[in-house]
């Protein structure tokens, strides 16, 4: 059952991640990227930008923590000292000339970190996160048809401030409720270490802040980098289809140095297909066929085998006699090499 399942996942789920990352068919209007210090979202955002460039998608970056405009970003919106309403206005303003010249062009809006906005002291109580995010995807003007996808990064390890109203949901639960896809990022070397521990029924290790060691913010990321094998990001994807059915899958995104920026073929693979994560089993089977080597001859010659097959075992003989009550008889024919000892066999 497992191999059929895997090949099914290979075809369908790889197609899905390819669609999501390349923003085809607006498969996911709102993607939530959950990252941490152990695996920042920067490489994934770079991959989004790279694919958007290839398919000529207009990229806007709403910068809450980025200082300089990165390569490949068409519009850079700094958010310093701006109210949420101002940000929405500016984001739609930078797209106006593009929309006028090429109305069918798709659009990608990246938010590099939503946490500063959620933790801000200045944002008044009237701030409504769903309508703020919604206004990017569905602009107020009905005439302007925009095919926009929004990718929001949320740093999981930044603590949330206490809620203004104790009855309202936390921002992160609002975000996970709204998002059509949720991507959680893990470091590949950590995933491998945790799997190795689970395979031995040990408690999986934790890294960085979770170690709760005084003075440690980041765990060591490149413990395995020297081998060059465990590089990459593990993507845990939860996608909600329009039908409501959810898809869960784990992928591996190789580091950007492994492929050229113009690479068109899909580079993401299933995590289960990775050799390091799922080592091939063939080696064990081959080992089972081989005979253990020793100085004893453990095999049988042809003659020995024939004689062994010719032996009539005692219970065949016992079945010829009729009925019970005859049990306990010893069926034994003296051979010539047997030495009958009267004293021994008298009972």
């Amino acid at each position: 059952m497992a191999p059929i399942n895997l090949s099914h996942r290979r075809t369908h789920n790889l197609l899905l991640i390819s669609k999501l990352l390349s923003l085809r068919d607006t498969a996911s209007p709102l993607t939530l990227v959950l990252d941490s210090l152990e695996q920042p979202a920067t490489p994934l955002l770079k991959e989004y930008i790279r694919r958007a460039k290839l398919s000529k998608v207009h990229v806007t970056l709403i910068a809450f923590e980025t200082l300089k405009q990165p390569d490949g970003v068409d519009a850079f919106v700094s958010t310093r000292r701006k109210s949420p309403a101002d940000i929405v206005k500016e984001v739609s303003a930078v797209y106006q000339p593009v929309a006028a010249s090429n109305p069918s062009r798709r659009r990608l809006i990246l938010i590099d970190s939503i946490n500063p906005l959620l933790n801000s002291k200045r944002v008044d109580t009237g701030f409504h996160l769903p309508s703020f995010l919604g206004s990017f995807i569905a602009p107020t003007l009905p005439s302007a048809k925009v095919d926009a996808s929004l990718v929001v990064t949320y740093h999981q390890d930044i603590p949330e401030l206490p809620q203004q109203s104790p009855y309202s949901p936390t921002p992160i639960s609002e975000l996970t409720y709204l998002a059509t896809s949720i991507i959680t990022l893990h470091s590949f070397s950590h995933v491998l270490a945790q799997k190795a521990a689970r395979d031995r029924s040990l408690a999986p290790p934790v890294f960085g802040l979770e170690e709760e060691q005084e003075g440690v913010l980041l765990g060591r990321l490149d413990r395995l980098v020297g081998t060059g094998k465990a590089e990459g990001i593990v993507i845990e994807l939860e996608h909600r289809r329009k039908s409501g059915r959810g898809v869960l899958e784990w992928y591996l995104l190789p580091p950007a140095s492994r492929y050229s920026p113009q690479h068109l073929k899909e580079i993401v693979t299933l995590l289960d297909d990775n050799v390091l994560y799922n080592p091939p089993m063939e080696r064990d089977l081959v080992a089972g066929d081989e005979e253990p080597t020793s100085t004893f001859e453990l095999g049988l010659t042809d003659r020995q085998r024939r004689e062994r097959e010719g032996v009539v075992l005692p219970y065949f003989d016992a079945q010829h006699n009729d009925g019970p009550g005859e049990g306990g008889r010893i069926l034994y024919d003296m051979g010539e090499e047997d030495d009958f000892d009267e004293e021994e066999d008298e009972i």
């Binding site: 920067t42 000292r81 980041l218 490149d222 950007a256």
Partner: protein
């Protein structure tokens, strides 16, 4: 013990030649303070290239002239001057040459300045509001105790009289004063600091680089807090604004366990300072290019090891453009102020 080179060869690549608009985070705990590392940053930027500098670092510094603006919220100018002298840096002379500027965020931050702020003797009325400054490191005994709590730095010699010596206290380019509340007060501080930076920049040639070091800006957050309208978001915006003035920025922050871990483990019972501090430090680590974490030895105190330095890649590192080798090393601060940096098992 033989005297160490001022800049340990192991450390040199991490403290010199910081790339443009990069943020470096130095985290410290109570048992492992960061001032020696800040001094190494100062030394890497300010020391004039001499033939007997630690190999590997000298030829790199010939090309560009560096300037440093040091904003210190935790330690006085006297402290930095004395400590730098032990490394062979004469801060007073460098300030004269407009290569170095010190901004004092400690002594008068919450102290209303007198109209004649240039007078070195401060009226006794100010004593109550600035108790921290009564403990300057190595304050000269000639000062009348209790009457002049400010580290006036009377031992500084040398001819003054250039543009930076508007204050009577030599060597200090500006003293910060906190007034008002919320963003307006942060704006005022930003203006003060940026004016000094611009003054330094006015004498810069093409290719010169200005390094901004902010020592423990978390004091500002701890001393004000959400009740004054300043939280983690406002603080990191403030740092973003300052970053834009400088070539590279170095921040030191405290990462003692209660300030980092209480917010996530105590289940909503954390105090505002715990939550805000954790949000600030983790948020900045997401933006930083590299994070240098100082902590004490896990196994307890040792007489030849002062602590552990772990250098990790931060979330803001552009992985595709540059690589940063992560490493962990032990350090030992000798009695003469020299620092030895060595791997585990070496000496």
């Amino acid at each position: 013990m033989p005297s160490q080179p001022p800049l340990p060869p192991l450390l040199a690549p991490y403290v010199s030649n910081l790339p443009d608009s990069s943020l470096t985070l130095v985290s410290s705990i109570l048992g492992a303070t960061s001032n020696w590392l800040v001094l190494r940053f100062l030394h890497a930027a300010l020391s004039s290239p001499s033939p007997n500098v630690a190999f590997g670092s000298d030829e790199l510094q010939n090309g560009t002239k560096k300037k440093v603006v040091l904003v210190s919220f935790m330690r006085s100018y006297e402290f930095w001057r004395t400590e730098a002298k032990r490394l062979g840096l004469d801060l007073a002379r460098l300030a004269d040459k407009q290569q170095f500027a010190f901004i004092d965020g400690l002594s008068e931050l919450f102290y209303a300045p007198q109209p004649t702020a240039t007078s070195p003797s401060i009226s006794p009325a100010g004593l109550g509001s600035s108790p921290r400054t009564t403990l300057p490191m190595r304050s000269p005994p000639g000062v009348v105790p209790g009457r002049s709590p400010q580290p006036a730095g009377p031992t500084v010699t040398g001819v003054r009289g250039n543009a930076t010596s508007k204050q009577a206290e030599p060597g200090i380019a500006k003293k910060l004063h906190f007034s008002g509340r919320g963003l307006a007060s942060l704006d005022a501080l930003e203006k003060d600091i940026s004016s000094v930076i611009e003054q330094q920049k006015s004498s810069m040639e093409d290719g010169d680089e200005l390094l901004l070091i902010i020592d423990q800006p978390d004091l500002l957050l701890a001393a004000t807090g959400p009740s004054m309208g300043i939280g983690a978001t406002e603080m990191s915006e403030w740092i973003t604004a300052l970053q834009q003035h400088a070539h590279a920025t170095v921040l030191t922050l405290a990462t003692d366990a209660p300030l980092i871990h209480n917010a996530s483990t105590s289940g909503g019972l954390a105090t505002p300072i715990e939550t805000e501090h954790a949000a600030l430090v983790i948020g900045l680590a997401h933006r930083a290019r590299s994070v240098m974490q100082l902590r004490t030895l896990d196994t307890g105190a040792a007489k030849d090891v002062s602590g552990v330095l772990r250098i990790s890649r931060g979330g803001g590192l552009n992985v595709s453009e540059e690589s940063l080798e992560e490493r962990e090393a032990l350090y030992f601060i000798q009695r003469d102020g020299g620092v030895k940096l060595f791997g585990r098992g070496e000496s």
